[in-house]
């Protein structure tokens, strides 16, 4: 992407007025998307964004600048701006000699999306629209979106690191609206992998469309969700957002260091039910949050965060690891070259247990079964978190019965982790997600087997 001598000169310029550390992050990202709505292929869109972000660290201060101008002059101007921002005091000349580091690719790309004709992408949309509408006359509206991206990055820093990655993602989403006596309801389904167009050799868009339409139709018969604290069984796959919110964010070392996490100072302690072993794994081939290197040049890793209920480690970015002289964890990520990296999750999941999922439901006298979760949000300082249920049912007499309307569930992270009293043997990964933190979105994955929380507050309206 850039000549090594240019990068070396840029790093030298960044450190010309002193500084403990400098980094150049170069990104070239191409996206393409096609959208169908209201029965018509509305629009295709393509884009390209290219630029470099440069940071300089002096003491505890990080200076940052970015530029879309990748000429030596443009890079040098950005390097000087970052150095000025770090308000460096001393002076001196530092030479940086780069050595290239390679990291294994989690998976190969078989069909680069850019080699696929636009007509083929549009056809997927039409097939999805037809299938969703064929699910019944109640389906009033269908929106389908195809999207792919190719993100080539290069990271170089004053420690001599030089590493790159070529990240490809392909996504397909269908949202349906069903109409009935009770008004309108929506259904959403998506598939996304860090693969190319071969995604559609493995998954049928018809299945995505049907799941979306059926979810909307099912909810037409939904009754108001209960209001109050109940046992909640979470189905396999889409329930991972529970852990993402209940403890994932709270285990990010930047928040821990600021005292903004209920998990601060709890390493080595029992923070969850012994049934809980939680892993964050950026190497998980093809999953939405996987990569070869993170956005600071660290190879992706599999990190066990909680083992049989005991907190074993936090997630780290490069500079925090470097400062404490400990191994990196590969969790330094950023939305684009215009952003500073932060500690972020990758693919976060709960390991499978031993219970038969059917037994988990049948041993629940009365509660809620959540088949599909939406997003969530957490206050890491207090540990309180919410997450939405987009497909859920009542459990009555140990059986899944009627569908209930959408709503949030609310709980407190440490409390909920301790109250997990059953974990199934049916582990599955969930939907591709985008995790937001401090204004930056990055792709993440999650997964869970069927599990039960003894008591969670369900935010419905039915007494």
């Amino acid at each position: 992407m850039l000549d090594e001598s240019v990068i070396e000169r840029t790093l030298a310029a960044a450190l010309r007025t002193g500084g403990d550390f400098a980094e150049v992050f170069v990104e070239d990202k191409r996206t393409s998307a096609a959208m169908l709505d209201d029965g018509r292929v509305e629009e295709l869109s393509s884009g390209r964004d290219r630029g470099a972000g440069i940071r300089v660290v002096v003491g505890d201060t990080t200076g940052f600048a970015h530029t879309a101008d990748l000429t030596p002059a443009g890079l040098s101007a950005a390097a000087e701006a970052a150095a000025a921002a770090a308000r460096s005091g001393g002076g001196g000349v530092r030479q940086v000699a780069l050595s290239r580091r390679t990291a294994p690719r989690p998976n190969q790309i078989e069909v680069m999306p850019e080699t696929v004709g636009k007509g083929a992408k549009v056809d997927l949309l039409r097939r999805a629209d037809e299938t969703a509408r064929a699910e019944g006359g109640a389906i009033r509206q269908v929106r389908a979106r195809y999207g792919d991206s190719r993100r080539q990055i290069l990271v170089a820093n004053s420690d001599g690191l030089l590493a790159g990655d070529d990240q490809v993602r392909t996504l397909f989403v269908v949202s349906s609206v069903a109409f009935g006596d009770t008004g309108m309801q929506t259904g959403y389904e998506s598939i996304g992998r860090t693969v190319g167009f071969e995604l559609f050799d493995r998954y049928e868009v018809e299945d995505v469309a049907r799941a979306s339409a059926r979810r909307a139709i099912t909810k037409l018969a939904a009754r108001p969700a209960p209001s109050g604290t109940l046992p909640v069984v979470i189905g396999p796959g889409g329930g991972g957002v529970l852990f993402h919110e209940a403890c994932g964010h709270g285990l990010e070392k930047d928040l821990v260091d600021k005292g903004a996490s209920v998990f601060k100072g709890r390493l080595g302690q029992q923070v969850a039910s012994p049934l809980v072993t939680l892993v964050d794994d950026g190497t998980m081939a093809e999953e939405w949050g996987c990569f070869s290197i993170d956005d600071e040049g660290t190879p992706a890793q599999r990190n066990v965060l909680i083992e049989e209920g005991v907190l074993t480690d936090y997630m780290w970015d490069f500079l925090r690891s470097r400062k404490e002289g400990r191994p990196t964890s590969g969790n330094g990520r950023r939305q684009s070259y215009q952003h500073l990296p932060m500690v972020r999750m990758t693919n976060t999941y709960l390991l499978g247990g031993e219970s038969d999922p059917a037994d988990i439901v049948s041993s629940t006298e009365s509660g809620v079964y959540v088949a599909s979760l939406g997003g969530g949000q957490v206050n890491t300082a207090s540990g309180d978190f919410v997450f939405g249920m987009t497909e859920a049912y009542l459990i009555e007499g140990g059986e899944i019965t009627e569908p209930i309307r959408e709503g949030n569930l609310i709980g407190n992270g440490p409390k909920v982790l301790a109250e997990i009293d059953a974990v199934g043997n049916d582990f599955a990964m969930g939907h591709p997600g985008t995790c937001g933190k401090d204004g930056q979105g990055v792709p993440v994955g999650d997964g869970v087997p069927t599990l039960r929380v003894k008591a969670l507050t369900v935010g419905g309206t039915a007494a």
Binding site: R40, D49, A68, T186, R405, I410, T457, V458
Partner: protein, 447 residues
């Protein structure tokens, strides 16, 4: 510095015969500062820019963008947008905005002085904010973040259909998220101040709010479930008004995804509610002279005394509805095509102050913040359920703090259940303004 209209003109000049072309050009200069423990943790200065190109050809629309003003890249984007158009399905109503004779309001949204404020002054203000919040209460144990940000943003739209306009605005903010700690318990609050010029930032108010909102939550417990009157803080009301405004987007209406699509002229809310969209009000954070298709913004009545009056429209959604654009095209930046939406919605304030409204509630909850609005509110079905924290109201007085509960209703019901609107219109950095709102008979889920 390059004039954005020159960039847009150059792109529009690449149009072929028989096609419409729109160049939407954006540029912003941003400064962001974060302090921690009395020192600067991060300081970023940057210029961001880009161009979005729409081509309409044979009634088909295509789009492409690029994050540079480089002539070669702009040429590629135009060619790509043109190629993309060939794969869309034809729509007789496709087409760009045309001049409609409405002149943009003369709004003063640009304070060039912001660019001249030395970085040191920004840092000093922020360090003072951090120090003052800590000093205000011994229970403040630290900060999740303490930030300053400013932006000088400009955009221009040029089309082959006769639109050629530019706009610009400045803005700055200070935001503190302090942590209040008592024993094992930590609560997070926030305080902020926004302005168009640096001098408008109100340090004292920010400190007061940040301290109050964090410290008063210490000792909060989960309330029992039940149905109660809730009083929404302006900050919370603004977020809900944003959700309601979203259902009044012409885009959702013409595609059959709005709760209110067929209800113009009906009583959809209590007579106490009057909602309007007015980007020509210079006090609004989202104030703008033109919309994102280059048409003049204007005041749009949405709900009058509870009766639905209409929707906000872009050029395309207006054509689909057999009406004219309300100057309400909005984009999420140069990387997206315009939709229809509100940028400066607000409720008409009522006659009563927040203290008096609170005094009139015998048994209720003051909601100071909500969470999970994106996951618990379905704007199509109207189901509404959000996490909340706040204070109990007993006999008209604020009592113990509450957390880990939800408030739930439906958008349809909530609009009818509003019993009073405060007189405390509050301008907030989002697409809707806030005001204290009293809502009767809302489901609280807790213990």
């Amino acid at each position: 510095m390059t004039d954005l209209l020159d960039v847009a003109d150059a792109v529009a000049a690449l149009a072929h015969d028989g096609e419409q072309l729109e160049a939407y050009v954006e540029r912003s200069r941003d400064t962001q500062v974060r302090v921690h423990d009395g020192g600067v943790e991060q300081l970023a200065v940057a210029e961001s820019l880009g161009v979005g190109v729409r081509v309409v050809r044979d009634h088909r629309q295509g789009f492409a963008y690029c994050g540079t003003f480089d002539a070669g890249a702009l040429g590629e984007a135009v060619a790509e947008a043109r190629d993309n158009a060939a794969f869309a399905e034809p729509d007789d109503l496709a087409g760009l905005a045309k001049p409609d004779g409405v002149e943009p309001a003369a709004l003063d949204l640009w304070r060039p002085g912001l660019a001249e404020v030395p970085t040191d002054r920004k840092v000093d203000l922020l360090l003072e904010l951090e120090r003052a919040v800590r000093a205000a209460d011994g229970r403040i144990s630290g900060f999740e973040s303490c930030d300053y940000a400013d932006v000088l943003g400009e955009s221009a739209v040029v089309t082959t259909t006769g639109i050629r306009r530019a706009t610009r605005a400045t803005g700055c903010e200070i935001v503190a998220y302090p942590l209040a700690t008592d024993g094992d318990e930590t609560q997070l609050g926030f305080g902020f101040s926004v302005g168009r010029a640096f001098e408008e930032l109100d340090l004292d108010a920010t400190v007061r709010e940040a301290v109050e909102r964090s410290v008063r939550l210490l000792g909060a417990t989960q309330p029992p479930s039940g149905r109660l009157t809730i009083v929404l803080d302006p900050w919370v009301t603004a977020q809900l008004v944003g959700v309601v405004a979203g259902t009044l987007s012409g885009e959702e209406v013409v595609k059959g995804r709005s709760l209110f699509a067929e209800r113009v002229g009906e009583q959809v809310a209590t007579p106490a509610l009057t909602l309007l969209e007015d980007p020509t009000d210079v006090r609004a954070w989202g104030a703008a002279t033109i919309d994102d298709e280059g048409l003049a913004t204007r005041r749009v009545p949405l709900v009058d005394y509870g009766v639905l009056r209409g929707f906000v429209h872009s050029t395309w959604t207006a054509r689909r509805s057999g009406t004219t654009s309300t100057g309400s095209a909005v984009r999420g930046g140069f990387k997206t095509t315009p939709s229809a939406g509100c940028r400066a919605a607000r409720l008409l304030p009522g006659p009563t102050g927040p203290a008096e409204l609170l005094a009139g509630v015998d048994d209720g909850v003051l909601v100071q913040d909500v969470s999970g609005l994106h996951s618990g509110v379905n704007a199509v079905s109207g189901d509404l359920s959000t996490g909340a924290q706040g204070l109990r109201i007993r006999g008209g007085e604020l009592a113990e703090p509450l957390r880990e509960f939800t408030i739930a209703s439906t958008l349809q019901r909530l609009l009818h259940d509003v019993t009073a609107v405060g007189n405390d219109l509050t301008w907030l950095p989002m697409s809707a303004a806030g005001v204290t709102l009293v809502v009767g008979d809302v489901s609280i889920s807790g213990a």
